[in-house]
Structures are given as structure tokens and as C-alpha cells.
Symmetry: C2
Subunit: 404 residues, 2 copies
């Protein structure tokens, strides 16, 4: 986040972050985002049947359509922690409400980190009051850092939007590098805006944007227990109320999707061990749903992902992954390109000369694989990373060596 200026940030929010000793590394691990007034709120959450305590609590809290503070910790997911975990999540929210002088029903909590270990409540008791005393309008970068676990870099994206004659701003921050697969990835994302929205509109726009961004990335096909995306709109920009499917609403929705897409791509680029960001673009499917199924199948194939690591234009693995996706395929119609280099026509490889060019594409850190099924007009995409030694190293040793 090299060039983020305070003037890029939506009005009406303050931030604070600390190293509270939840992570063994001593790095920042506790943060709060506070709206000056109760903000309109919408959220999307993990689809895992095993749901972490903070997700249970936050899902319940935001039903009101309002949220004034998000308390978030890294280093401990508060997942698989039973009744105690839920009581701890409630206690964290209550501590934050007390320190901030706001209604505890307006506090959402998010946690990310190791599963199955109770929250070290003493750390929260000690550090939440201090956090509340350190709030300022410039601390967003510190929050983005405090929510990192195996992330190599903080993830922030901003957009300015002219909506209904007024300018409003959107900023998103996210964490996530492993256990990344929709719906949804092991990720937290917070999106803040000073636009004027009602809760229903916020929910609609967030849902649509998540579907086309965070729900189309994969690092390892593992869906976490803690995934949460929250959108808070402070209304401080004084735009007219934005409504879905209106011109101003569409403009805002476009910017919102751009923010989420930028964050989603950062997550894949920061995928555990990832050296490449690859867009799998499926065209010519019988339907959009079929296209998405094929894109997901190719994007999650371990063999395709290791071939990306090896810069091997192994189109046979791509066509095989399309073939086992479970939807209609006619191999004889398949066309595959690496960026603009055709490699397969009518299901047949185009030979050594094309392969040399395709290999050059695969050596780049970012490229697109287009799979045209030649059946209809359905299209969809997915972002994925390569699978390599570093992913194995990180995940074989996660708890013993990193404890982040």
C-alpha cells in the first residue's frame, strides 16, 4: 500500500492496531475499525458447516443492518472452541463496546489464525482499552498489517466514485493466503465507504461483488471456518441514497467490484508459496454455470497448478481437468490459448513451435489461460496460483514453526 493517502479514505472511520501478544511472533495481532456513527452494514460469511464463534456472533449482530465497530484479531481463529469460544467472542465485543463507549450490539468481531485453541482472553482484557485510546483516522495500514497471518504483504485497495453529484470513497482491506477457496476463502475483508446506502442495498451490492471476485479465487481448495467480508457505509460523504440498478448505484457497484477484485487478486498473488497469478478464462460453454464449473475444475487441479510452477504448457492436464468437471464437453471442439498464443485447436495440440511461445507466456508471473469449449456463449473466470515447494513447506510446518 505504498501510495495510500488519507484523502483516499472514506470519511467517518478511525482505526487502531496493536501487538497484543496473541501471535507468538510478537507482531501486531489486534485491531479495531470504528465508525463515528453507527454505519450501515452487510456481510457475507463462510459456507463451511463448521463455523467459528466470531462468525456466529457477527452474523447475528449485523442482522440489524448496523455496525459501529469491528474488532479483529489474528493468531487465533477462535474456531472449534465450543461454548467457551462463543462466550469469549461475546466478551471481546463487550470489552470493545465498553472501551469505545458504544452499544455492544454494534460491535462485530472477527478472528483468524490457529483453529482449536481458546482465545487468550487476558490479552484482550489488557489491550482493548489501550486500542480504543489510540484511534485515529490514518491507521488503516496498521489494521491491514495486524490482520495478516501467513500473508506476505498487507492488502488494501481504494476507489473514488462520483455518485449522484457527490464524491464518495471505498477502501477495502483483506487478509488471506492459504485455506483459500470460495465459498469463501480463509480470508477476512473489510470494505468501508462514506456513501449513503441502506442495508438492503449494501447486502445486494456486496453479494453480487463477492460472487464475481472472492468467490472466484482459489489457492488450495480448502474453505475456512472463519471467512468474513463486511461492508460498512458511514454515509459521511452525503451522497444521495444509492439504490441498486440505478445509474449511481451501478457506478458505485462497479467501483466496489473493482476494490474486491483487486483484493482478491492480491490474495491469490500472495497465495502460500505462489509465484504466479493465473486467470482461467472459460469461453464457449453451454451456460455461464457450466463455464464456472470448468474454470473452477481447471483452477483447482493440482496437476495444472504444478505445471504452472514448472512453466510447462501441459495442455493435456487442462483438457483433462475440464473433462472431469462434470459438465458437457466435446473434446474435439476445445481451443486453448496461453495469453494470445493458441496451443490447442479442435482438441489437438498445435505442435512444438506454439509450445515454445506458450512456454514463454508461462514463465511470466501473470497470464491468462483461455479454454474455449466451442459449445455456446457461457463464459466465466477463476483466479488461481501455482502449486509449489513453498506451499508444502508453509503448510507442513504451520503450527510448529510459524504460529502466526
Amino acid at each position: 500500500m505504498p501510495n495510500l493517502r488519507v484523502t483516499d479514505l472514506p470519511a467517518g472511520f478511525r482505526y487502531a492496531a496493536r501487538a497484543a501478544g496473541i501471535k507468538k511472533s510478537g507482531k501486531p495481532d489486534l485491531a479495531v475499525i470504528v465508525a463515528d456513527q453507527p454505519a450501515v452494514c452487510a456481510g457475507t460469511f463462510t459456507t463451511n458447516r463448521v463455523v467459528a464463534a466470531p462468525v456466529i456472533l457477527t452474523r447475528e449482530r449485523i442482522r440489524s443492518g448496523l455496525c459501529q465497530a469491528i474488532l479483529v484479531n489474528s493468531g487465533n481463529a477462535n474456531a472449534c472452541t465450543g461454548e467457551q469460544g462463543l462466550a469469549d467472542a461475546r466478551r471481546c465485543a463487550a470489552l470493545a463496546a465498553e472501551a469505545l463507549g458504544i452499544d455492544k450490539q454494534l460491535v462485530s468481531v472477527c478472528s483468524t489464525g490457529v483453529i482449536g485453541v481458546p482465545l487468550p482472553m487476558g490479552r484482550f482484557e489488557e489491550h482493548i482499552p489501550a486500542l480504543a485510546a489510540e484511534l485515529d483516522g490514518e491507521g488503516l495500514d496498521a489494521v491491514a498489517r495486524a490482520i495478516m497471518t501467513t500473508d506476505a504483504f498487507p492488502k488494501v485497495a481504494v476507489r473514488r466514485v462520483a455518485a449522484g453529484g457527490r464524491e464518495c470513497r471505498i477502501v477495502g482491506l483483506a487478509k488471506g493466503a492459504g485455506m483459500i477457496h470460495p465459498n469463501m476463502a480463509t480470508m477476512l475483508a473489510f470494505v468501508l465507504s462514506d456513501a449513503v446506502l441502506d442495508a438492503a442495498t449494501a447486502g445486494t451490492l456486496l453479494g453480487r461483488a463477492v460472487e464475481r471476485t472472492f468467490n472466484r479465487i482459489t489457492v488450495d481448495r480448502d474453505t475456512s471456518t472463519n471467512d468474513t467480508v463486511l461492508l460498512l457505509a458511514s454515509g459521511a460523504a452525503g451522497t444521495p441514497p444509492l439504490v441498486a440498478d440505478s445509474p449511481a448505484g451501478e457506478t458505485f457497484a462497479g467501483a466496489l467490484e473493482e476494490v474486491l477484485q483487486e483484493l482478491a487478486k492480491m490474495i491469490v498473488r500472495d497465495g502460500e508459496g505462489a509465484t504466479k497469478l493465473v486467470r482461467i478464462q472459460v469461453e464457449g460453454a453451454a451456460s455461464e454455470a457450466d463455464a464456472l464449473t470448468v474454470a473452477r475444475s481447471v483452477a483447482t487441479s493440482a496437476l495444472v497448478k504444478t505445471a504452472f510452477f514448472g512453466a510447462d504448457a501441459n495442455w493435456g492436464r487442462i483438457i483433462a481437468a475440464a473433462g472431469y468437471a462434470g459438465v458437457e464437453i466435446d473434446p474435439d471442439r476445445v481451443r486453448i490459448c496461453f495469453d494470445d498464443v493458441p496451443m490447442v485447436e479442435n482438441g489437438l495440440g498445435l505442435g512444438a513451435e506454439q509450445e515454445v511461445k506458450a512456454t514463454a507466456v508461462l514463465k511470466q508471473s501473470e497470464f491468462t489461460v483461455t479454454v474455449d469449449l466451442g459449445l455456446g456463449s457461457g463464459s466465466a473466470w477463476y483466479y488461481t496460483s501455482d502449486l509449489n515447494y513453498e506451499y508444502v513447506r508453509i503448510n507442513a510446518d504451520y503450527r510448529s514453526l510459524r504460529q502466526c
Copy 2:
């Protein structure tokens, strides 16, 4: 296959294998299995929509319920090779039929290896006649070696069965190490018996046994285009005709399942890079189908598999993988054991002392993870391997370095 004796082999079959130059390595890559008389035959094939030419041909050929010869090559899958691929497969069968002096409709062909490259037909033209001249009743081991690609060892299993007052024998041979996921794995398996069976019974018994063996293993969740299992019964043992669900039929079916299970476990143990063979046993599911879904989800999780490699008793990843399987789960009822070491009760970890014991289990090369959902009586299992550096190495460089 250290202790295989000729007397363990079913009567009525002969074998030959050669290095025909299809593999760049110069290792054996072409083999034939021939029955003295047309044998009763049943088969199961890949569920991938992209189907290799030899699978298309063999599926068609065995509809008659009879097969006298299987011609198999490694080093080239003859997949994604279009009309030419199908013509090549037919030509291979015709060459074998001519050399063996049998009806070409009785020849099945199987191929495994690189996708998307035409078969080097000159090699087949040259070597098939020589192969036919080298047939003998003891060459099964050579065939098992000639079908290897990334396999580290040949895979053979044998059983003797007393059925209806006569002894018959079953021998199975298989290849497979990567692109392993049902339905079915990148694998070929040939099962030969001298029992007397009709084609319908052979199909029923083979289908049941495959469902409980080859369809419950995974190395990398990638389903190949070439998977084929063929069962040939020569009838040379002179048993009474075996019928499914009769006592003799059940005895035979039990032995058949044992042969397939032994081969299936060998494939996982030989999974690309694998250092561990892990049985995921799910108990207490609402139904057997749910149990299988959860077992598959845990067995295919990259995070679970890397934790196995790291001997990390990271039960949070197991419970998360159960949670995203898509079936009913009540996390508060989940119980997890590593072999006989309980690690989770009622969804909660049992602490550091148990973890020390669990870690000792995970350091073994073979163990069972039992996940009891506490909901019903459905149970199922899956075999999987660990995911590690060597898998990445093998698959990032497959075509450039190994070409096997």
C-alpha cells in the same frame, strides 16, 4: 512382487513385454496379455468426459463380453489425439490380432503416459510381432513393469480361492501414481482369473469391487482420461459357473475385492512423492453416502495432506474439511482419533498430552484417521497420501525431465 510363483497365477494366460522405444528412457513400454481361448471380460473406465482413444475402442470391444488379448503401452496416453488417435488404436489392435492369429474384435488396447502426442506407430509396427513371439506363462512381472510411468514399483496382488469344490486363482496388476482420483484413478489394472464366470457376473462383481477399492483412493484429485480396469476370466480352473450372491460367488467376490484393495493401497503408497498411506475412516454419519462425501473431502484436502507430511496433528484442518464437504455436520459431536489416540471429543481438542501421542502416530508410514460425526450409523473410508515437495518436483517437471 518378490514371492510370486507361477503356481499362484491363473491358468490359461501368457504374457510378454518389451522396450519398444515409446518411452524416451528406453525402459519397457509395450506388453501383451493373451488368453489361450477367448476369456469372459468386464471393464470399468474413466468418468472423465475427455476419453482417450484406447478407452473408446476398448469400451466398445468388450461389449461382447469377450476378450482374448490386452495390448498395453506406457509412455504415451493416446489421449486428445482426435480421429488419428482412434485410427491408431484400431491399428494397434489389428497388429496384435494379426501377430497372435486371433480375431481383432477380441483385442483390447490400453495406453498411459503423455497426453496430446500421437502414438509413434512405427514402434508398434516393429515390436508387436516380436512381442507375440515371446509369449510365456511366467512373464506377468515383466508386464507389470512395462505399464509403469511415474510408478516407483510394479503392483501385483494374488489370491487363491476355493470356489465350488475347485481352486481358482486371481491375479491383479496395476499402474498408477499420479492423476489419481476416482472415478477413477490414472491407472490401469488388469485382473485375471481362471474361474468360470459369465460376463454379467464378471461385470457385477468387478463393479462392486472397484466401488469399494479403486474408487476410494486419491493422490491428487485429478481424474485421468485413460483409466481402465479389465477383468478377464479364462475358465481354465474348471470351477462351477460362479454366480453373484451365491456362497461360491461371494467367496470369489471377497478375494477379488482383496486383490483390488491391495493394488489400490499400493497405488496410494506409490502416490507421486508419497511417504505415507493414510486411511480416512468416517463413522457416525447420517448415511453411508454422507460418510463417503466427508471421507473424500478430508482425503483430498491439500492442507490435511501437507499436515500429514509434517506429522502435524492439525485436527482443525480435518474438522474444517469435514465442514466444507457439504453434508450435515454438528461440530459439537465430532470425535477424531489418530489410530487409537483420541484427539478431539465433542468438537474440542483434548490437549497437549494427547497431541504428543497423536504426533507419534502421524510419524508412522501408515495410520488411520477416524472421524466420528456422532449423527448416525453411516460409515465409509478413503485412502490418501501426504502432499509434499516430491509431488511438486515430479509434476512441475513431468514432461521436460521424465517423459515416462
